[in-house]
């Protein structure tokens, strides 16, 4: 399997190693099948280095089957992307386990485990630990490194200061990926909140979440945007943006920065991150562009060890 992680990547001119790689997270929403294919056609031509493919939120979403994901994965690999198959986060039923086994034994692509069941099924084989595996300390990193861990995604609520502590103690050969841009996935239930909005049960949901390609906005009664309902998942209404911390992330030795797809402007987001990592755009200029592309606005409290919804003033200066 061509799954050995690279520590950096030569740019197209072959003149120098980029300071960090950009990854594209799995699509967290239910998009129409044609839109998914159009999206990944654009991905192939974009500056992202690593692409996570698969349905991670709801077992009832079946716009694409494993065989479709694998075909897409081959196309993207052909286009020079590293592909990782992302697995479902909430594994409850026997059907969920059967699907998970098929992903874990695909034989061709690295797998992102979003539940410990995937780690168990991989039997020591290589994997990426998704943020929901809850790695909060370097000891946990070492424990999983002995069992096939190649790369981990930091839990979303951890701060920049904690990241630095973890980086100082991480075992050799393990890559670190940080959620870099997108609405934060904050919680998952077995219940479907989109179905609830339509007074339906999950069994009778009719895939209604497909009507909301960026989720359903939830406002407090006094007006401010709070959350987004995405089927069984709850996300932040505001968009986390790590671009202003790019220098710190690079200095901390973070290898990958994840961009979470949104229905509009994802490739403009990728372009801005790419220009900034190459030093061809100032992060501050990039930040202004990115903020204009956010559905509601920015939040970065988690990075500063504050409440996640906060747009921390220290960051807004300059």
């Amino acid at each position: 399997m061509a799954i050995a992680p690279n520590s950096g990547r030569r740019d197209e001119a072959g003149n120098g190693v980029l300071p960090l790689r950009l990854s594209l997270g799995p699509i967290l929403y239910l998009w129409p099948r044609e839109d998914i294919y159009d999206f990944y056609t654009c991905v192939a031509e974009s500056a992202v280095d690593v692409v996570y493919l698969g349905e991670v939120v709801c077992a009832k979403r079946r716009a694409l089957r494993l065989i479709d994901w694998l075909a897409l994965a081959e196309d993207l690999r052909e286009a020079g992307k590293e592909v990782v198959l992302a697995t479902l986060g909430l594994i409850e039923s026997e059907a969920d386990l059967r699907a998970l086994r098929r992903f874990c034994t695909n034989g061709r692509f690295l797998v992102e485990a979003n539940d410990m069941a995937a780690v168990q099924l991989l039997q020591g084989g290589p994997f990426v630990a998704g943020a929901t595996l809850n790695i909060y300390n370097e000891r946990s990193l070492r424990i999983l490194a002995e069992r096939g861990l190649r790369r981990w995604v930091m839990p979303l609520e951890l701060s920049g200061a904690t990241l630095k502590q973890l980086q100082a103690g991480r075992p050799a050969g393990i890559e670190t990926e940080v959620f870099g841009f997108g609405r934060l996935p904050l919680a998952t239930s077995a219940r479907c909140f989109t179905a609830r909005r339509h007074n339906a049960t999950k069994e009778q949901c009719e895939g209604r979440c497909q009507d909301d390609p960026d989720g359903l906005l939830v406002r407090a009664q006094d007006g401010p945007e709070l959350l987004v309902i995405n089927g069984v998942q709850v996300q932040s209404a505001h968009t986390f943006n790590a671009l202003p911390m790019l220098g710190e992330l690079i200095a901390a030795g973070v290898e990958l920065l994840r961009i979470s797809p949104q229905f509009h402007d994802t490739f403009e987001v990728v372009r801005v991150f790419d220009l900034c990592r190459r030093g061809e755009m100032e992060p501050d200029a990039g930040r202004h562009i990115l903020e204009s592309l956010m559905p509601v606005g920015p939040c970065d409290g988690y990075w500063w060890g504050e409440a996640g919804h906060v747009d921390w003033p220290a960051n807004a200066i300059g």
Binding site: S93, I143, H309
Partner: protein, 333 residues
């Protein structure tokens, strides 16, 4: 199969109440963020924990210590010391979620059983197998989101005993993976052992009624005379597409008294009462009712019916309206 009754104790009087009214086991925690009920004035220091363990031992009641939060690198020694301390006291089990904590306990305290905390988000038997094979866990506490059928399936295939929540506060999110509290306040169950910390809560009378806020965010608004619930992000009333409603979940609590025969038939080893943050009166009342129900169910599972007086006694101490089947029925899942 005998189902064990596991009762909460946030302090010595609650522990005494649980022991007195028929708990098979009590679960407790230290007075810091090493457990998921970290709250001012709650939990045990070295002295009271030793007293509690001794009291339980004298009455043949097991003691489980919750060490079910996730240490960050700079806090590790607190969790390490908590494991050592609990083991020295001779408690029967540690309830753990973090890989490093369970690895340390498995290596250094082989005499203490490990129970997988609900905070480890184990919703299937393959995940339980992982923790069993690598750390020798002996029991798994299942998240409250599972349906009865799923609990049955897991119990049938799990290499270890399973414990389920029977009564108390209801989490609709997968426990251990919910960041709603830290999104609003900076503090979460995983990091600080708190959900919706009291320090971040405001009650404010406005022209529109009583407002409850968490981390400054408006969670709900109550007209005069309406009973206000403790503000949690998952139980607030919000506006979605012009409609104001409980967008995620009604503020209800869990009660599975009606399901006891099915849980027993499924081979569930233990039923847990939620509520270490609650009063000794709550613990006494809940323990007494559940003891009676479990005894009745064990004696005559086929004719078992939950009794009206049990339900009314529980209703007196429940914080919210109860769902008769709770998560396990899942009317709209």
């Amino acid at each position: 199969m005998y189902m064990e009754l596991v009762c909460p104790a946030g302090n010595l009087p609650s522990l005494e109440a649980a022991v007195e009214h028929g708990a098979d086991a009590v679960y407790i925690g230290f007075r810091d963020e090493t457990n998921a009920r970290h709250s001012a004035g709650l939990n045990f220091d070295a002295q009271t924990m030793a007293q509690g363990v001794e009291l339980a031992r004298s009455r043949g009641v097991q003691v489980y210590v919750a060490l079910n939060t996730y240490p960050r690198p700079d806090g590790w020694t607190r969790w390490q010391q908590a494991v050592d301390h609990a083991a020295e006291l001779g408690v029967q089990a540690l309830i753990v979620a973090d890989l490093a904590v369970m690895d340390y306990a498995a290596r250094h305290c082989p005499g203490v059983r490990l129970h997988l905390s609900v905070q480890a988000s184990s919703t299937n038997y393959e995940s339980i197998r992982f923790y069993h094979e690598h750390f020798g866990i002996r029991r798994a506490v299942l998240p409250r989101i599972l349906s009865l059928q799923q609990v049955e399936r897991i119990a049938a295939h799990s290499p270890v005993a399973v414990e389920v929540f029977g009564f108390g506060n209801l989490c609709v999110m997968v426990e251990g993976r919910c960041l709603l509290s830290s999104y609003a306040t900076g503090r979460s169950p995983n990091t600080w052992g708190v959900c919706s910390p009291a320090s971040a809560i405001e009650w404010h009378a406005s022209a529109e009624g009583l407002e409850t806020r968490l981390g400054g965010l408006l969670i709900d608004r109550y007209p005069p005379g309406r009973k206000a619930s403790y503000p949690q992000m998952c139980k607030g009333r919000y506006e979605v597409q012009g409609q104001v409603y409980h967008a995620l979940e009604e503020p209800v609590s869990l009660n599975t008294l009606d399901l006891l025969p099915e849980l027993q038939e499924a081979g569930v080893a233990a039923v847990k009462i939620e509520g270490r943050q609650r009063s000794p009166t709550y613990v006494a009342q809940a323990t007494r009712v559940w003891r009676a129900a479990l005894d009745e169910c064990e004696r005559a599972p086929l004719s078992y019916r939950s009794r009206r007086e049990w339900q009314s006694q529980l209703a007196k101490v429940a914080e919210r309206y109860q769902t008769s089947l709770g998560a396990y029925g899942r009317p709209w899942q």
